[in-house]
Symmetry: C2
Subunit: 99 residues, 2 copies
Amino acid sequence: MNALFKALNDPTRRQILDLLRTGDLTAGDIADQFAMTKPSISHHLDLLRQAGLVDSVKEGQFIRYTLNTTVLDEMLSWLLSFKGSSVHNSSPPGGATER
Amino acid sequence: MNALFKALNDPTRRQILDLLRTGDLTAGDIADQFAMTKPSISHHLDLLRQAGLVDSVKEGQFIRYTLNTTVLDEMLSWLLSFKGSSVHNSSPPGGATER
DNA sequence: CTATTATTTAGACATTTGTCTAACTATCTA
DNA sequence: TAGATAGTTAGACAAATGTCTAAATAATAG
């Protein structure tokens, strides 16, 4: 889960994921969308791949990147578990002693 | 959304949130659960508060921290939008030309 | 085989981040 | 008021992060 949060903790990487929802893209096509060098984008893609958020397939001299949302399930259920376990309590700080 | 991802991108902070699901806690009670100094925990709590994930109320000499999951909704719908828009395509790299 | 194109790898560098110690503010208690 | 307790703020510092340029790898085109 750590790699997942880490990967999502960057606007550029989230934007890359947004780009990929429309369909697969090559590294170059992705890099063209940003005011950033290709090596930088390549690094971001690497982190996304490490997190399992994208898959990459080499096709000739291109590398096609594909969105993979299955890893999001883990995060999704983690988040949902919070929405479920809202306790709304207000027990006193000290522990059991109510002053 | 940036502050939210940033806040969640740390194991300690996520653990603090997990602690708070059981109920409110003071800064000290939270700090006691970690092998880390109080100033460090205080800093983590500050980031969580900045992200809107926790609320803090001063009660005497204590500060009670409360979990606030409302900000998670934004993130939740962002994540869900990905699960919805899986395209499963495999268009060729070049762009629009379907060869 | 050479040149070109697509992409990554390596290394440098500034910024951000997480942690610590020391000092400060505020509340409670004797 | 003095001392203890709860918590934060300030500053330092190492490690992680995001970006860049230069060079390397690999596939394609002439």
